[in-house]
């Protein structure tokens, strides 16, 4: 039939694809479900699937993301932001933010801001948005169409502030964030649906800097997260440090208290390489700082054993929270590059009494699972397949007298969830109550994460203990919290969606969106060009197909014109540096082929009518 060119203008064709994005500390990936199967897309011209999560800001205002940015890190350390994920949702006073990298921070203000070349200071949200924008464009190129919706993964251990920051980054990148999906859950989704299996799975996720464990159950189309746990300060980088420490000891350098940053970087890189080599060699030589050091696999395994034991504690706790013994698991899924270390695989097998599954690339599995969830949420044909029931990873509570936390929603509660607690006044005539929302497992407020503070005022003056204030927590399916407070006798109430202390306000996000439109002329140009190139690809493909299929409908002179138009579009698609010329060529080709297209349509319609008459006779 008259497919091809007609489809280009088909208004019924749904616009926009939904993708899954693994926004990682070290690398990021983008994937989508195509023909029922999730697939990761190349993120550079060389075909690599992993985009290094590094953003470089040039003195000329340009922004470079990925491997090219990473290459600039050594020469431009302060304007090249790596591991930005570790800064998400953190305040400038967080100790950790100071020890990561040689960045220059803007002093003051509630939000971390990096001072970079070529423009005003940037927040972690803006840096992450650059990574997301790059992934979005690459996915658009691969899919030959717009990408407007995404499922973005976050570590199960991300708190509310970190989740909000991730969601805001997505918005800033022009993506509708369909869902923030916990990474281990995503991994299980990638495995679970592939195999159509039922059962209970443990997901052991050891990344560069974090460790997550989740227990999930898949029964009759419901994927239920039973429990999650982990250690947000334990990962493969610690393996590198363990090796590096032994190197320094062996060379009598352990006393050097402040080695220079370049030396540390060099040594850690060498240690990482040694670790990777030892996954397939018994022994390796590590060279750094002009010295060498021989490491056997056995030695390395003994050095990292205490780290693995620490993951074991979290695993046993997760099993207990899920009310399960280790014998009840049907499978163990490995996620994260650090699970390539053989000792990790052995440890996991022993811990759970099961050989771990590893047939999906541990670097890709999270993005693939996110793509599956994006497809489930947007594709109406698949809406009945699997429902995912996730949990909240950290307890939510309120500050009470004496700085003690009163937990309202315990960790591992299924989401969405709600809880309410009635508090009272402690002074006669007290007319306001401060509400301080915290997240974490510890007893004291100071040991937990402060999420928000607000004040309920307008309480009627009553003797102490008489006013009754109900504080209600509500957590939606993304794990994001809203809090409301209400004085029960008068109905005075106040509600907020918790905007974390270290996040950005909606106004700030709006302003950033505006700025990114105003100041990124070049960006827009590049994007328009890319869109025209995609359009060109599509029109070329269709026009060539029509030429072959309906050659009899095309007189020779018209054919020459159409072919010239095709050649022009094909050439400009390769060479054009701005979108205008290419857009004109596309329009010209469209114009010269219009009579041809009309003839194809007429034949198609004629065919239909004839067909109907035959039927009706």
């Amino acid at each position: 039939m008259a497919g091809g060119l007609l489809q280009i203008h088909d208004p019924l064709k749904p616009r926009g694809h939904a993708v899954g994005i693994d926004l990682g500390t070290t690398n990021s990936l983008v994937a989508a479900v195509i023909d029922g199967k999730p697939r990761a897309f190349p993120v550079d011209d060389g075909g690599a699937l992993l985009l290094p999560s590094v953003v470089h800001y040039g003195a000329d205002g340009s922004v470079v993301v990925g491997a090219r940015a990473r290459a600039l890190a050594a020469s431009e350390p302060t304007s090249t932001i790596a591991s930005v994920k570790r800064f998400m949702g953190k305040g400038p006073e967080d100790a950790e933010t100071r020890s990561l990298g040689a960045y220059r921070f803007l002093e003051g203000g509630p939000v971390v801001r990096f001072e970079v070349k070529g423009g005003p200071p940037v927040t972690p949200i803006e840096v992450s948005a650059e990574i997301l924008r790059t992934l979005k464009r690459r996915a658009e190129a691969a899919l030959s169409g717009k990408v407007e919706q995404a499922v973005i993964t976050v570590p199960a251990y991300f708190d509310d502030a970190q989740r909000q920051a991730t969601r805001d980054a997505g918005r800033l990148a022009g993506l509708e964030v369909l869902r923030l999906l916990n990474e281990p859950t995503a991994a299980a989704l990638a495995y679970g649906l592939d195999k159509g299996s039922q059962g209970i799975f443990a997901v052991y996720d050891l990344g560069g800097g974090t460790f997550d464990i989740s227990i999930l159950q898949l029964v009759e189309g419901v994927f239920q997260v039973k429990s999650t746990g982990g250690d947000s300060a334990l990962g493969g980088d610690d393996f590198d440090r363990a090796i590096a420490t032994r190197f320094l000891e062996a060379h009598g350098l352990a006393e050097a208290v402040h080695p220079d940053a370049a030396a540390v970087t060099e040594l850690l890189a060498a240690a990482r390489k040694a670790k990777e080599t030892l996954t397939h060699e018994e022994t390796t030589q590590l060279s750094a700082l002009g010295r060498t050091f021989t490491v056997t696999r056995g030695e390395m395994e003994s050095w990292i054993a205490p780290l693995l034991q620490r993951t074991g504690i979290a695993c046993r706790r997760a099993l207990k929270d899920a009310d399960l013994g280790r014998g009840e698991l049907d499978g163990v899924i490995l996620v994260g590059g650090s699970t390539r270390v053989l000792a990790v695989r052995r440890f996991v097998a022993q811990l759970f009494g099961k050989e771990p599954l590893g047939d999906i690339d541990p670097d890709q599995v999270v993005a693939l699972g996110a793509a599956v969830q994006a497809d489930l949420l947007t594709n109406r044909d698949r809406a009945d397949e699997v429902l995912l029931l996730d949990v909240i990873p950290l307890s939510l509570g309120l500050e009470t007298m004496g700085g003690v936390v009163e937990k309202l929603i315990p960790r591992n509660s299924a989401i969405p969830t709600a809880a309410a607690q009635v508090f009272t006044t402690f002074q006669d005539g007290q007319n306001a109550l401060d509400v301080h929302v915290v997240q974490g497992e510890r007893e004291l407020v100071t040991d937990n994460r402060s999420l928000a503070r607000f004040r309920l005022s307008g309480i009627p003056p009553l003797p102490a203990g008489m006013a009754r204030v109900e504080v209600r927590f509500e957590v939606n399916a993304d794990g994001i919290l809203s809090v409301s407070a209400k004085e029960l006798s008068t109905g005075v109430s106040q509600a907020i969606t918790v905007k974390p202390t270290h996040g950005l306000t909606d106004e700030e996000i709006e302003q950033m969106l505006l700025d990114s439109i105003e100041h990124a002329e070049e960006d827009i140009q590049a994007r328009q060009l890319r869109e025209q190139q995609i359009e060109a690809e599509r029109i070329l493909h269709d026009a060539r197909k029509q030429l072959a299929a309906f050659a009899d409908l095309l007189p020779a002179d018209e054919r020459r014109q159409v072919e010239a138009g095709i050649a022009r579009v094909a050439e400009l698609r390769q060479t054009a540096t701005e979108s205008g010329a290419l857009a004109e060529a596309i329009k010209a080709l469209d114009d010269v082929s219009r009579p041809f297209v009309e003839r194809i349509m007429n034949r198609a319609v004629g065919g239909l009518l004839e067909g109907r008459q035959v039927d009706e006779v």
Partner: protein
């Protein structure tokens, strides 16, 4: 009540049988009602799991109310309540506390003060705590787990005492003696729990 969307008359449903929209929660709905389970001390676990899954598929915001903000709100509320019912009724202990609450005695709230735990029980609890503290201070892990095991056995006995009192109370809601017995047993169970929580911190490393 009438369906907010199609106005047809509905009773006891979470989703309108006529138009398929999610309905608000009717006043007086118990957590047992939410899962469609018979109210009682004992619950069929397989039936509970099945009911939870089946209702999640119907009510979860990923499935319901995608096109209508009001229904989306109801779907969120319904699912939150469903999750609460699942969490509360799945394990025997929170289920027992909840049943007592249905009889007007909420141990999480002020009523806890009204329960008089016999001084003998309190003494015993305090003594156990002291033993735990000294065992932990001297790093005696064996003693810690021996104490935990002892309390676990006690709490199992206490729970079954609470359950049998609750069964009587379910048969005759006016049985004040049964109510007091259940309340006392459950108050005692709470002390056991606090002890086990405290013991757990040191226990976890070596288990």
């Amino acid at each position: 009540m009438r369906c907010w969307n199609c106005q047809s008359e509905v009773t006891g449903a979470d989703v309108c049988p006529a138009c398929g929209r999610v309905l608000p929660v009717a006043p007086g709905t118990t957590l047992f009602d939410v899962l469609g389970l018979p109210r009682g001390v004992d619950v069929d676990k397989a039936e509970l799991e099945r009911a939870y899954r089946e209702r999640s598929l119907r009510l979860h915001p990923d499935r319901a109310g995608k096109d209508d903000p009001r229904e989306r709100r109801l779907s969120l509320e319904r699912t939150a309540l469903l999750n609460e019912a699942y969490k509360t009724l799945r394990a025997p202990e929170p289920r027992a506390f909840y049943l007592l609450k249905l009889h007007g005695f909420d141990l999480q709230k002020d009523e806890a003060r009204a329960v008089t735990v016999p001084p003998k029980v309190l003494e015993e609890v305090l003594e156990l705590r002291e033993q735990l503290d000294s065992a932990r201070a001297s790093g005696d892990d064996e003693q810690v787990s021996a104490l935990s095991d002892r309390v676990r056995v006690q709490s199992a006995t206490t729970l079954s005492a609470a359950q049998s009192a609750l069964r009587r109370l379910e048969r005759n809601p006016a049985d004040a003696a049964a109510r007091d017995e259940a309340a006392q047993a459950l108050a005692r169970l709470r002390y056991h729990h606090r002890f086990l929580e405290a013991a757990e911190g040191s226990d976890e490393e070596e288990r």
